[in-house]
Amino acid sequence: MAETADSKKDEADYKRLHSFPLIRHTDMSEEMRVETMELCVTACEKFATNNESAAKMIKESMDKKFGSSWHVVIGEGFGFEITHEVKNLLYMFFGGSLAVCVWKCS
């Protein structure tokens, strides 16, 4: 029992500590990066249970803000190899378990 309690506590700690957005890789400009990151956080929080909706929201917002042909992948586990336009890629983690990859390629 004690062990499970500990593990639960650990898990809670982990969730709490790892809730912040963390950029894994990006080549965006500072301004764009901040904006995109905020957008991703908003979307992931809004659609916490539905990655598809979150991705859709991010994609559509990015299309509006930065011109069309954005692609978004959100998931807990995936591999990818993409071609993107330079200065238009953001790969970040969020909430300790989500990976979000946003890129532009038209």
């Binding site: 807990e76 995936f78 071609t83 993107h84 336009e85 330079v86 983690f93 300790g96 990859c101 390629c105």
Partner: protein, 688 residues
């Protein structure tokens, strides 16, 4: 009314006719012919008209009425009613299914109808005709137009056939062609038959088409691939958290880094600015010196030649004459923390600037001034931390050791035109943990490496050796042997190489040896507060002087643990120095802005000169004698350095007796001091 007139006219013609027939029968035939002709076409020449008058045609059955009958008035009323119209027309009314008389009867009677062949030119009919004819034959259009214009011309017979008119008009057209043309021009535009046209088309040569295309370079792309899964995400988060923790630890160090960057940037800009004039640096410096010499000519004259004449009338007292004042705008808010003359170039001195106030620590500055150029420093170094002490190497005057508030020591090389120190101690290489209060160059060691000593509040006295590119440190002594002690000042014996004194924050002075790091040779219970300076006498090997914030200046024989002399200056004493020219002269500066100059050989109890040399509330912090010239420099807490000349009384040599050559040299000075000391020793032993 017209009827009677007509009658009258008829009457006159009748009379005329009868008269003409009776009176001129010869001319009758001619005239009849003329009249006939007249009657035919009614063309009258003016002459014939007034001659003949008009004759009216009379119907043959006209009644001849008498005058009375003619004058009789017959009254007839004309009404619009037709007397022949039937009054009783009855028609069958289907509505009421019976015959009914019609009340309204047509009263109009038509007697004669003649359809005219004149058409108004603006009417549709006319237009149609014109259009029809105008297209088929242009001439006719013109004619028709002309014909329609004609009615107001006096030509008669126009109502006859159109062909006749056309002919007649041809003639008229020839007579005055322009009038017709003008009229035609004035006419509104011709109507064209829009259904009667012929199409004509032609095609110019088409330019041969040529194809041209270009393509912009597509926006640059890059490939990126990665794998996202739970363990990678977790690992990265953990890594990031660790990094953050590290950053937190580093944060204390970071601001200084930023500052460093800023300073670097500044220096870079300064460098780039000075790049283009490097070639003329030397020349411009000489010119600057010349200009300054001219500007401060009077001061320079005073420096060299002025001797205060009033001294002759005073017995002992002397004065200080302010000469140049050195200041630098960017150093205004800093206080002078150290002064050091260059032993080789006697006009050259270093000024360390910083702050003693723990709460107001900022950047420091190291300036090098020359008496030749009081307006601007020769060298300027900006430092991250307050400069607390400076020492210029005795022989290699380009090497300058500096101690900082943050515990670092550094060596600047003036030959290298760099803004950064040539050597700098770091936390790894044994830097002090508290402000470094004094640094002092030593003789080169056995390997002929340059080395210097430093003393700091952390209680360590450290020897620093310049080896290649680094500073190697050796702890010489730790003052906290018995209790925690903070070193604030030290001085090395002039002759005995290993011997040195260390003043501490709690007022004690320790006599130490370089070779014994575990014990003090002697400890003097000198002051009640921090020792600000301790200095060996330049001439006498046993004597040293110390001063403290407790207002006291004390002179010691290092063999005796009690002070030989004690002077109370009524203010915290910032610094005290021995005069280089006499063993008995020393000068001290106090917090109340005064300089006190003593000559023990003249007055053992009072200062020869007590002079306030700066504005009120300004504290004097440091003082130095020039090694050769009779001048002093004092630094204050506003970043100013003032140079002062000692008046003759302050550097009086013992009066030469007539015929007696006074011996000169160090022995004399030693003797002088010794004489004083012996007196005291005797009195001391007597008292004891």
């Amino acid at each position: 009314m017209p009827v009677p007139q007509k009658h009258a006219a008829v009457k006159t013609t009748q009379e005329f006719n009868t008269r003409a027939q009776s009176k001129a029968p010869v001319a009758k035939g001619v005239k009849v012919i003329g009249r006939k002709k007249d009657d035919d076409d009614r063309i009258d020449t003016g002459e014939e008209e007034w001659m003949q008058g008009k004759t009216l045609v009379k119907p043959p059955d006209q009644l001849d009425l008498t005058e009375a009958e003619l004058k009789e008035e017959l009254t007839r009323i004309l009404t619009a009613n037709n007397p022949h119209a039937p009054q009783n027309i009855v028609r069958y009314n289907f509505k009421e299914s019976c015959y009914k008389p019609i009340s309204s009867v047509d009263q109009m009677a038509v007697h004669f109808v003649l359809e005219g062949n004149l058409v108004h030119k603006d009417s549709h009919e006319a237009r149609r005709q014109v259009a029809k004819q105008g297209v088929t034959e242009d001439m006719i259009v013109e004619d028709v137009v002309a014909e329609e214009e004609k009615p107001d011309t006096p030509v008669t017979g126009q109502l006859e056939g159109g062909e006749d008119m056309a002919e007649g008009e041809d003639g008229g057209g020839e007579e005055r062609p322009d009038s017709v043309d003008i009229r035609a021009g004035k006419k509104e535009q011709k109507l064209t038959n829009q259904f009667n046209f012929s199409e004509r088309a032609s095609q110019t040569l088409n330019n041969p088409p040529r194809e041209r295309s270009c393509q912009t370079r597509p926006p640059p792309r890059a490939h990126f691939s990665s794998t996202a899964n739970q363990w990678e995400i977790y690992d990265f988060y953990v890594e990031e958290l660790q990094r953050q923790e590290k950053n937190k630890e580093k944060q204390k160090a970071q601001p200084s880094k930023k500052e460093e960057d800023k300073i670097k940037k500044k220096m870079i800009t300064v460098e780039t600015q000075s790049d283009d004039i490097t070639k003329i640096t030397k020349v411009s410096k000489i010119i600057e010196h010349m200009v300054n010499q001219n500007t401060f000519d009077d001061v320079a004259q005073d420096f060299r030649y002025f001797e205060d004449a009033s001294d002759e009338f005073r017995e002992q007292e002397g004065t200080l004459l302010p000469l140049w004042k050195f200041q630098y705008d960017r150093a205004k808010r800093l206080s002078v923390t150290s002064l050091c003359w260059n032993k080789k170039h006697k006009d050259f001195f270093a000024v360390g600037l910083g702050s003693y106030d723990f709460t107001k620590q900022g950047h420091g500055m190291l300036l090098f001034n020359s008496l030749k150029n009081p307006t601007y420093p020769e060298f300027i170094f900006t430092t991250l931390s307050s400069v607390m002490c400076v020492d210029i190497h005795e022989n290699l005057s380009y090497l300058v050791a500096v101690g900082f508030y943050d515990g670092c020591v550094a060596v600047y090389n003036l030959k290298e035109h760099s803004d950064q120190p040539a050597y700098m101690s770091t936390a790894k290489t044994g830097k002090h943990t508290d402000p470094v209060w004094q640094v002092k160059w030593q003789k080169d060691d056995l390997d002929s490496n340059h080395n210097f000593f430093s003393v700091s509040s952390d209680g360590r006295v450290v020897s620093w050796t310049l080896v290649k590119n680094e500073l190697v440190f050796t702890d010489i002594i730790n003052l906290s042997l018995d209790s925690t002690a903070c070193g604030t000042a030290f001085d090395f014996h002039k002759q005995i190489d290993y011997l040195f004194l260390v003043g501490t924050l709690d007022g004690k002075i320790h006599k130490c040896s370089k070779s014994y790091s575990s014990q003090f040779l002697e400890t003097y219970d000198a002051h009640n507060m921090a020792v600000d300076a301790v200095r060996w006498n330049h001439h006498h090997p046993d004597v040293f002087i110390s001063c403290s914030t407790d207002w006291k200046v004390k002179i010691w024989d290092h063999t005796i643990t009690t002070p030989m002399f004690t002077f109370d200056l009524n203010a915290a004493v910032g610094d005290v120095v021995w005069g280089p020219y006499s063993s008995t002269v020393f000068a001290a500066v106090t917090n109340d802005g005064k300089i006190h100059v003593f000559d023990l050989s003249i007055n053992k109890f009072e200062a020869l000169c007590q002079q306030a040399v700066v504005a009120k509330k300004t504290k004097l912090s440091h003082i130095e004698f020039n090694p050769v010239h009779p001048i002093l420099i004092v630094g204050d807490d506003r970043g100013y350095v003032t140079s002062l000349k000692l008046s003759p009384n302050l550097r009086k040599k013992p009066k030469e007796k007539k015929g007696q050559e006074l011996p000169k040299g160090p022995e004399v000075e030693i003797d002088k001091m010794e004489k004083l000391l012996s007196l005291l020793r005797e009195s001391g032993s007597n008292q004891a």
